[in-house]
């Protein structure tokens, strides 16, 4: 048995990449026409878990809450992190959950995992909801130390300590890179800029070996998949889904068009004479003088 156990929580999200995403005429997302994939931040979290596998031989579990089709997110994550186990928490009772009720399901699921978890990873935020709350709330419910905005990490296996670097942006001041140390277990919300690097020959060999294994496993991902409903998880029905959600979406409206703040002069983009005037104006604005 591996002496480092890690888990990743992921999410199936609309695919925002060009050609896949579809917008309505008014600029809003056309959900029916947009396909779903493993969210990009979930993918980064999966690659952070893969680093633990390559470096420390960690055992990796991937978990998600969602409808039955969310198992495709687990498959895509498995391809990235060579997961040993995949978990889907799926029940009609979970529908309509806000971040607190979602965190309750994920916390319950992770607590049930075989072996004590040492590190749980999440992405920075989902691309659709964009709250970034589910990760830290799951961490708090688990009682794990929460480390957010983590740009890289290493584990001191002997002392069971994580060393991580975090990128904190102090608006109005500057950015700060902070090095922190915390005993396991920890919950890491990984920064979008995270990139795993493998520097030694043995790491690269391990990388290739696990990557090959990941491909084979992901082809047969259902063998690794376990699905739990609310009863099997043993969640408290009062704490999940709609009853466990303090917040509701009261209304969704189009943001009213602000009053025009400027009156644009319209210029034909193929008309050189007009563009020449624009160029002159640009130089004037930035303080260069133009000889007329």
């Amino acid at each position: 048995m591996a002496n480092l156990n890690v888990a990743v929580i992921v999410k199936l999200e609309p695919d925002f990449s060009e050609g896949n995403v579809s917008y309505n005429a008014d600029g809003t997302l056309n959900r029916a026409e947009t396909k779903s994939i493993l969210g990009p931040h979930s993918a980064v979290a999966s690659s952070a878990a893969f680093y633990a596998k390559v470096r420390y031989g960690a055992s990796v579990a991937v978990a998600t809450m969602g409808p039955p089709i969310a198992d495709s997110a687990l498959q895509q994550a498995q391809l990235l992190c060579d997961a040993d186990e995949l978990y889907l928490y799926s029940d009609r009772m979970f529908a309509g959950a806000d971040t607190l009720a979602t965190a309750e399901v994920l916390k319950t699921g992770i607590s049930k995992l075989e072996g004590k978890m040492d590190i749980v990873f999440s992405g920075h935020r989902a691309s659709d909801g964009e709250t970034g709350q589910t990760g830290p709330q799951t961490a708090w419910k688990l009682g794990f130390t929460f480390l957010g905005n983590v740009i890289d990490y290493d584990v001191d296996m002997q002392n069971r300590i994580v060393r991580a670097r975090r990128m904190i942006s102090l608006q109005g001041f500057y950015d700060v890179v902070e090095e922190v140390e915390a005993p396991l277990p920890v919950f890491i919300a990984i920064d979008p800029s995270y990139k795993a690097s493998f520097n030694t020959v043995s790491q690269r060999l391990a990388f290739e070996k696990y990557q090959k294994e990941a491909k084979e496993r992901a082809q047969n991902y259902k063998q690794y998949l376990k699905v739990f409903n609310a009863q099997q998880l043993g969640v408290d029905p009062k704490l999940v889904g709609l009853p466990g959600s303090p917040t509701i979406v009261y209304k969704v409206e189009r943001i009213p068009k602000a009053k025009a703040s400027r009156r644009a002069e319209v210029v034909d983009g193929t008309n050189r004479e007009q563009l020449a005037k624009v160029a002159t104006r640009m130089y004037e604005v930035v303080g260069g003088m133009v000889i007329k």
């Binding site: 997302l29 708090w140 500057y174 922190v180 009062k238 917040t247 068009k257 983009g269 640009m282 260069g288």
Partner: protein, 392 residues
């Protein structure tokens, strides 16, 4: 009704200097509470909550900027933000009747009615863990707030029956596209099967959206000291090193910014090169709209890691800028983006669609696709350049 009182604002600062969003939150809290005091009750307050070490002077400033009272937790351990202890201290402060009694009649006090956090690297996570601890609702990235009595009919909250919810905080958040506003409410469950109170009603607030009130050094209010106690377990996260880094993206000292958005889509790599060339010609920095930071287009690794990065995002999810000249190429003008560039001196938009919202936010609207317009514009700029340099 007195179980829930006051609006607690969680202040962020760097060694005693408030980050701008802290004063912006206080400004909006003041405006909301002035209305609330008139409409509902005069004895509820804006309470600033500060964690730190030796920042007594900041507490006074917070009163000048709109707080009625300040609760201040002082310890060397609280000098820099650490999620674990900060969450514990804030949760204790928020549930302390004793502290609330220092500035109000708190005989029935249980928790704050409302709570504000900053939607930034620290506040986003802190708000999440505090509200997980307090087991209440949180809406993130808010840019409009209203307090009203609402009639709610909800399948779970009210079991389908219409019910009146008084003093409800309507929390508006723009969605990722910038075209939709979602209003989030945090409501008690009044369904008899699952009755449960959910307070405080909390949110995180986007930096740069609300205006601070004018500093008034005649304002006075109680400053309440709270001495936190920690055990070893609370202090298990250690900050080993803290290094200030400056972004390589420089929006502040450049006179011009050239930004691009999804309009690069027909030939992303080439169009980004054109934008970069235009920026070089104007000695401008390159900005992007939020969707670009999600890397929606396949481009070379170098282009992607140079340009499609969060550091370059202009708007409510990124930076607010005010250059002399702002060029928006292939940007439709979602509200979030406009909020970041509306202070620019002179705005030129390049866009094929005259109906896009950016047209109402620019001084010159060049109608056309950027791949057609920028090369011609570059030629004109280069023709005129020698004349400028002679004059300089």
């Amino acid at each position: 009704m007195k179980k829930y009182q006051h609006l607690y604002v969680i202040i962020e600062h760097e060694d005693g200097k408030p980050v701008p969003v802290s004063l912006e939150m206080l400004g909006e809290a003041r405006r909301l509470m002035d209305g609330y005091n008139k409409k509902y009750s005069a004895d509820e307050k804006v309470v600033a909550v500060v964690l730190g070490h030796d920042v007594r002077r900041l507490c006074e400033e917070l009163i000048f900027y709109g707080a009625d009272a300040v609760i201040y937790a002082d310890s060397p351990e609280l000098r820099y933000a650490r999620n674990l202890i900060d969450t514990k201290v804030i949760s204790r402060i928020a549930t302390s009747k004793e502290l609330a009694a220092k500035f109000s009649d708190a005989s029935e006090f249980v928790r704050p009615r409302y709570m504000f956090f900053a939607a930034d690297s620290i506040g986003r996570h802190l708000s999440s863990t505090v509200l997980a601890e307090l087991e209440s609702g949180l809406a993130s990235d808010i840019n409009k707030l209203v307090i009203e009595d609402l009639e709610i009919k909800h399948e779970h909250k009210t079991k389908g029956q219409p019910m009146k919810y008084e003093r409800t905080l309507e929390m508006y958040r723009p969605d990722f596209s910038g075209f939709l506003w979602t209003t989030i409410l945090c409501l008690d469950n009044r369904n008899p099967a699952i009755e449960r109170d959910y307070h405080p009603q909390a949110c995180s607030i986007i930096p740069g959206v609300f205006a601070p009130i004018e500093r008034d050094s005649t304002r006075r209010g109680p400053i309440v000291d709270y001495v936190p106690k920690f055990d070893e377990c609370d202090l298990r996260v250690k900050i080993i090193n803290r290094k200030i880094v400056k972004s390589t993206v420089d929006f502040d000292s450049k006179k011009a910014i050239v930004s691009f958005g999804r309009g690069i889509k027909d030939s992303p790599e080439e169009n980004i090169k054109l934008v970069a060339e235009l920026a070089r010609e104007l000695e401008a920095e390159v900005g992007i709209s939020l969707p670009i930071s999600k890397k929606p287009f396949a481009v070379s690794e170098g282009t992607s890691s140079t340009y499609m990065i969060p550091d370059r995002v202009i708007g409510t999810s990124g930076r607010k800028v005010a250059p002399l000249l702002y060029v928006a190429a292939g940007i439709s003008g979602a509200m979030q983006h406009i909020a970041g560039m509306k202070e620019a001196g002179f705005v030129v938009a390049i866009n094929p669609d005259e109906d896009s919202p950016i047209k109402d936010e620019c001084d010159i609207f060049i109608k056309g696709r950027m791949e057609d317009v920028i090369p011609l514009l570059l030629e004109e700029l280069r023709k005129q350049k020698p004349a400028i340099e002679v004059k300089k």
